[in-house]
């Protein structure tokens, strides 16, 4: 799907003067150099973060995978991702189905309200949540952070599932009903299988948002530090080579989640 566009870009580039091609390269270097450097140094055997490489090793990985603090944070991040995906998957599906029943003139109001949070900085949510939790007497923990993650991921999930329902042919449900199906049976055998790719894609995206989050967790997770919080703690003490290894693991985790989400929501559609 991307291949033809990609090739077209290449062909077009070939027709351009050399200057613009060089500019493109610079942009890509700017975009990816930090990541390349991080991944490269995670395999550097010397603790010094400078060239030339002393040698290739996986000692930093061995170190982080035996560090209980990192492992616990890693587990918390995974837990947060799974819980966020679960909560937003269910709520997003229900919301997307529910809005279909709302009268057309109210729908815009609902949509704007539901999607509004997309435009609000995460920091405001984080502060608001911290204040709110304190007011209602909820302590800071990974569960508090989970709820916050669900909050910021829900609009995306709602949007993706809603878009797939917009293409759904509701005549199919009439056909199922005509053949004797109850509404619930028709939903299970027709609606759900047809929108499932979008639902899973949306949940993967929610998981990626959760893994990636720093701000919400910083304000609400308290002592239950997620991976980004642990990394932040280490950065304060100076750049440590294990950071590169943790960073590389997170890079693989988030990009593969995002990639899976993208392929589900685009290839999955009919």
């Amino acid at each position: 799907m991307t291949a033809p566009g990609w090739r077209r870009t290449l062909v077009r580039l070939r027709r351009r003067p050399l200057g613009s091609a060089a500019f493109m390269v610079l942009v890509f270097v700017f975009l990816f150099a930090p990541l390349v450097v991080m991944v490269a140094f995670s395999f550097n055997s010397s603790p010094r973060l400078s060239f030339p490489f002393a040698g290739v090793s996986i000692r930093w990985y061995q170190e982080i995978f035996t560090d209980t603090l990192v492992l616990r944070a890693f587990r918390r991040s995974i837990q947060a991702a799974v819980v966020t995906a679960g909560i937003t998957g269910v709520l997003g599906l229900l919301a997307a189905l529910g809005i279909l029943k709302v009268a057309a003139r109210w729908r815009t109001v609902f949509l704007t309200t539901a999607l509004g949070p997309l435009a609000i900085p995460g920091l405001l949510y984080a502060i608001g949540l911290a204040v709110f939790y304190r007011q209602i007497g909820v302590g800071r923990s990974i569960w508090s952070a989970n709820l916050g993650h669900a909050l910021i991921a829900l609009p995306f999930v709602f949007l993706i599932i809603g878009a797939s329902l917009e293409r759904f042919r509701f005549g199919l449900l009439e056909a199922a009903q005509d053949l004797g199906a109850t509404r619930w049976y028709a939903f299970r055998t027709v609606t759900l299988p047809l929108i499932l790719p979008a639902v899973i894609g949306a949940m993967l995206l929610a998981a990626a948002i959760s893994v990636d989050d720093f701000v919400i967790a910083f304000f609400t997770a308290g002592q239950d530090k997620t991976l980004p919080l642990v990394m932040y703690g280490r950065v304060l003490k100076g750049i440590d080579p294990t950071l590169n290894a943790i960073g590389t693991v997170m890079l693989i985790l988030t990009t593969s989640l995002a990639f899976m989400a993208a392929s589900r929501t685009t290839i999955g559609e009919r």
Partner: protein, 380 residues
């Protein structure tokens, strides 16, 4: 859903004074109709005439605002679609795209908890009946239009419905395939003996396939009858016009001869029609004549039409060749343009634009028309 034969004295479908409104629009207006067991019944009308709404009320997707719907004598007015012994073939088929052909057709049987062996056997049999045997493993979204149509038919028929409802099922197919499917549908209906209620806007299709046709306009059922009676004895102008092409004229009676009314004009032009006893000279009558009943002959030729036939003189405006038939537009002195349709044969080539001709038709070719939307009282 019921399998066995209905009680013999109960019609398969009985509608009593059914009305359906959408906001201020009356989609179906006080329709009363009985469809017999095993009948092929068509609802014919222009788009927006209420025929699809009527069908959807039979299926249970719409609830009438007034009146009752009976299925084999049982009042189903408020019964949900999944509890009715009707099945529907939708206009765009609505096959489940994520299932195989087999699972599409088996959907209804699985719901009825039919044993697995029996499902397999019945599905394969039904696929054979509708002419897509061997396609069971194919994904439903990998079928041609004609195949989808057949699978949709199989998926509905396999449930052995009391009535099969078909909502313009052939409208998405190309002309050639449509013609073939019309005959096939008819023969499938005949061999299974299932009651069909068929919605269409194509008058030719309705006449060709149906035992009886009901013509609808503006939500009302205007006339019900066998194809021949609908075509040859339409009771009002709308029916006459919608079912086939039509010449319609207003004539002023100049004299009467027994039960014949005669309107004369100039020298030799006259129209003769059957009229009621109360018809007097000076009355205005609206009459209609089918183009294929009108004969066009060169003026210099002797016509053997007797005194009882209508005869007008005129000049040929245009000759339109349409393959098996040719259409003549004749400008007559008495009535203006008259359209005639004849078989395209050797004789037909003698008539060319500009030629002076005589336009004639027999007395029984003309029928009187009532007002455009007047409602027929269904007696059946």
């Amino acid at each position: 859903m019921t399998d066995g034969p209905g009680q013999p004295f109960q019609p398969a479908i009985l509608l009593e004074g059914v009305t359906k409104r959408f906001g201020s629009v009356v989609a179906v207006d006080n329709v009363t109709l009985a469809v017999e067991e095993g009948e092929f019944f068509s609802l014919l009308g222009p788009s927006g005439c209420g025929k699809t709404t009527l069908l959807r009320m039979l299926a249970g997707f719409e609830t009438p605002d007034d009146g009752s719907v009976y299925l084999r004598g049982e009042d189903v007015t408020l019964v949900q679609p999944n509890k009715r012994a009707t099945n529907m073939v939708f206009q765009n088929y609505e096959l489940f795209p994520h299932m195989t052909v087999f699972n599409n057709v088996a959907y209804g049987l699985k719901l009825k908890k039919v044993p697995k062996d029996e499902i397999g056997q019945r599905v394969n049999e039904m696929l054979e009946v509708v002419g897509v045997g061997g396609l069971g493993a194919r994904a439903a979204d990998q079928l041609s239009g004609g195949q989808q149509q057949r699978v949709a038919l199989a998926r509905a028929l396999i449930n052995r419905p009391a009535v099969l409802l078909l909502d313009e099922p052939l409208s998405a197919l190309d002309v050639k395939l449509r013609k073939r499917m019309q005959l096939e549908l008819k023969s499938i209906q005949h061999s299974l003996g299932t009651t069909f209620v068929y919605v269409t806007h194509d008058q030719e299709e309705a006449l060709l396939m149906s035992d009886r046709v009901g013509i609808m306009n503006h939500g009302r059922l205007l006339q019900i009858g066998a194809p021949r009676s609908i075509y040859e004895q339409p009771r009002n102008e709308f029916v006459a016009d919608f079912v086939g092409t039509l010449n319609d004229f207003a004539i002023t009676v100049t004299r009467t001869e027994g039960d014949l009314a005669v309107a004369e004009h100039g020298d030799g032009d006259r129209i003769v029609v059957m009229a009621g006893d109360d018809c007097r000279a000076g009355h205005t009558l609206r009459i209609a004549v089918r183009p294929e009943r009108i004969l066009v002959t060169p003026s210099d030729e002797e016509t053997d039409s007797g005194q009882s036939a209508s005869s007008l003189s005129g000049r040929v405006e245009d000759v339109i060749y349409m393959g098996p038939i040719t259409q003549y537009l004749v400008d007559t002195r008495m009535l203006g343009r008259v359209v005639s349709q004849r078989m395209s044969n050797e004789e037909a080539t003698l008539i060319t634009p500009g030629l002076e001709v005589a336009v004639t038709w027999a007395v029984d070719a003309a029928f009187p028309l009532s007002d455009r939307d007047s409602v027929d009282n269904p007696t059946t």
